[in-house]
């Protein structure tokens, strides 16, 4: 490969990597939002008082870019309420009181898949969305012309500190992954499958090599060992490392001939194809210095993070920050009532010390931001252009190419809000362009 993409060395803090997984089954009630994906929220299809089982559909996909939602417990719908999402918008959420039985829906059967259309339907009905964190409905990714797909690239990089749930998948769910791979390769004719894993995950690499042997009959499966450097799991970074093609700004992986899918997403598809049980629970890493017993827990979707913390022995101190996902790109949560969502791969309760950031001082033009940006953007310049509200300069600096990985802010010795400003600048640029369009 011509250019080695830059990045940063982050602390790994994978405390939970060798802890045995635990299943959390005793949940009193769950709150399941209808929007746990990118796109239109699902439409609730149950009423208050309806009895539901594990896997009963409670939300119907609404439109092309949407995903159905299923009950994660058996019991009774007690409330349908407004739910505030972390991006500030709101959607409906179904509250279900559990009867403690966790009875699976008797109507569930493994889907019959004998054509590509049926496979696509199955992926849609599984309720699976990008489980690495993005939450993009997986069936939309697969709704493409199969002749365009040269590669299926599986994301097993897991480059965020703390997070270990993808490692769990790779080490324990290779059967599910193999099942999904066989179906996809059969109906899409994808022969080349590449999984990218950071070099420090030895066990996962071994397991995936074994998986490669298992699926030799249907595809050419290769394990691409990535350097242990954040952000290897960024979609564009991963694709570039795997096949040497860069996805330009505004384009999708399919434009360079590949589909990218997270390893846990793939396993979830495999599990649905085998059993018909849709996505109802989620493997999450529970960590942070204030968690008494950090671990990997399989949790019914909709369980409040407070209940998960309680399951892990509770919190030993007041956390400074609660985070969905890893500390580099994760989203802070205002309170522990927030539920585990489809795309939640970790919940962190960081202590004051862990969450402490240095004070922001003046830019000393050290160039560390631009020298660590995997794409070679100039975050300090973008910040100056944004301060001047200079849309033209922002466009020239290609702020829209930013994947928001946060390397720039992480390395900045002045702790300037660099990636934070990139996000604002992208919104600003979008608004400016909309204004221009409405004028002309």
């Amino acid at each position: 490969m011509a250019i080695s993409l830059r990045g940063v060395q982050v602390p790994h803090r994978k405390h939970t990597k060798d802890t045995p997984v635990e299943y959390m089954t005793e949940v009193k009630s769950v709150t399941i939002p209808m929007s746990m994906h990118i796109g239109k929220p699902a439409r609730p299809c149950v009423k208050v008082g309806d009895p539901v089982c594990v896997g009963t559909k409670i939300g119907e996909a609404d439109g092309a870019v949407s995903s159905p939602v299923y009950s994660s417990v058996s019991g009774k719908v007690t409330k349908i309420k407004d739910f505030l999402l972390s991006n500030g918008s709101s959607c409906a959420a179904v509250v279900i009181e559990s009867d403690g039985e966790m009875t699976p829906d008797p109507a569930l059967t493994a889907p019959a898949v004998s054509s590509r259309e049926q496979l696509l339907d199955a992926i849609r009905e599984s309720g699976v969305v990008g489980l690495g964190g993005a939450g993009f409905p997986t069936h939309v990714k697969f709704n493409v012309d199969p002749s365009k797909v040269e590669y299926l690239i599986i994301n097993g990089a897991e480059c965020e500190p703390y997070v270990t749930s993808d490692s769990y998948t790779m080490e324990n769910r290779s059967e599910d992954m193999a099942y999904a791979l066989r179906a996809i390769s059969a109906h899409y004719g994808i022969k080349n499958v590449i999984i990218g894993i950071e070099a420090n995950k030895k066990k996962a690499i071994d397991c995936m090599k074994q998986l490669g042997e298992q699926v030799k009959d249907c595809c050419n499966f290769t394990v691409k060992v990535l350097p242990t450097q954040y952000p290897q799991g960024g979609e564009k970074v991963l694709v570039y490392k795997a096949i040497g093609r860069m996805i330009p700004v505004g384009k999708l992986p399919i434009d360079v001939g590949c589909i990218v899918i997270n390893c846990t997403t793939l396993a979830a598809i495999g599990s649905y194809l085998q059993t018909g049980m849709p996505l109802v629970n989620k493997c999450v890493t529970v960590d942070g210095a204030t968690v008494k017993k950090p671990g990997i827990v399989i949790v019914p979707i909709g369980t409040s993070i407070q209940d998960v913390f309680d399951y892990c022995g509770g919190l030993t101190a007041q956390p400074a920050k609660l985070i969905y996902g890893g500390p580099m790109m994760g989203i802070t949560v205002p309170n522990a009532e927030a539920p585990i969502m489809k795309n939640t791969n970790a919940i962190l309760a960081l202590s004051e010390k862990e969450a402490k950031l240095p004070e922001t001082t003046a830019c000393i033009r050290c160039g560390k931001c631009t020298n660590t940006c995997p794409f070679g953007l100039a975050p300090a310049e973008i910040l100056r252009a944004y301060d001047k509200k200079d849309a033209e300069a922002l466009d020239k600096l290609l702020v829209n190419g930013c994947m928001e990985c946060g390397c720039c802010s992480f390395v900045c010795p002045a702790n300037r809000p660099l990636v934070q400003t990139n996000k604002l600048a992208k919104i600003f640029l979008r608004e400016e362009k909309a204004k221009e369009e409405s004028k002309s």
């Binding site: 250019i3 982050v10 602390p11 500190p161 564009k236 570039y240 860069m246 996805i247 330009p248 700004v249 919190l315 007041q318 956390p319 400074a320 920050k321 985070i323 500390p327 580099m328 790109m329 994760g330 989203i331 802070t332 949560v333 205002p334 309170n335 522990a336 009532e337 862990e354 969450a355 240095p358 001082t361 003046a362 830019c363 000393i364 033009r365 050290c366 160039g367 560390k368 631009t370 020298n371 995997p374 794409f375 070679g376 953007l377 100039a378 310049e381 020239k396 290609l398 190419g401 928001e404 802010s409 992480f410 390395v411 900045c412 010795p413 002045a414 809000p417 990636v419 934070q420 996000k423």
Partner: protein, 316 residues
Amino acid sequence: MSNQVKLAVSPHIHSGNSTRRIMLDVLIALLPTTIAGAIIFGWKSLIIIAACVASCVGFEALFNLITKRRQTVGDLSAAVTGLLLALNLPVVEQNLGITIFQCVIGSLFAIIVVKFLFGGIGCNVVNPAIAARVFMLIAFGSMAKVGLPVVVDTVSSATPLSVETAEQLPSIMDLFLGLRGGAIGEVCVLALLIGFVYLLVRKVITWHIPVVFIGTVFVASLFMEGFDVMMALTMTLSGGLFLGAIFMATDYVTSPSTAWGKIIFAFGAGMITFLIRYFGTYPEGVSFAILLMNILNPYIDSWTRHKILVAGGKKA
């Protein structure tokens, strides 16, 4: 607990690097040459260092106080400016009081005129220590003289750059160890190289500027000296080239960010140094060379941005 957690935009962790840490590293890297300077030029050099550091830090504190800005002396950048300025000054035969006075005026120029009147740290157009050094060279005749070592008495009278005959030249080993005339911190190349290695290991600077700067002067001198390697080496080890290339030209604010930018910047500085040394009226040109390249820096920086890899067909 619900009401007490912080909400913030990611990232939620930081590398821990800081301006203060970087400046501290520069101070540590300057320690060997400071000690060498004190040994070679005697106790008077320590007075000069103390005067410059104290007045630079003092002026910064005072300016912040008067203009009601946040106090920034804690970032140690004023201390670095003070130390660099002192290391660029010679120990000359004159009343110590006058020397201290000159140091205070030089520091005033560095901190107030060059740094703060342009907006403070990160906003100065040229390196404050270099600008102040050039200011003192022009303003005070005595500061244009060459400091003489006190440790040895057999050393040739002047800096090798201003001697007339080859017999007066110090040996390569003397030059490497710093047994020659010059400014406090510029003579001991060995000590400067130790500092260079430290800065590289700590990833404070990259190799580009020092190596290209020094390399350019060496190669250009080699041509001028008719491929006499020893003469070219003598030229390279003389004057303030190593101090300038390692510590002054690598100042973040006034040098380019990218590797190619640094290479162009350093090549330019090397060529100007060479031209002044061989064809100019001043015996030494490192300070002027860096000063001139500082002024060109914004242009070099904007010409040499990284290629944006996600640009695709769109022109970045």
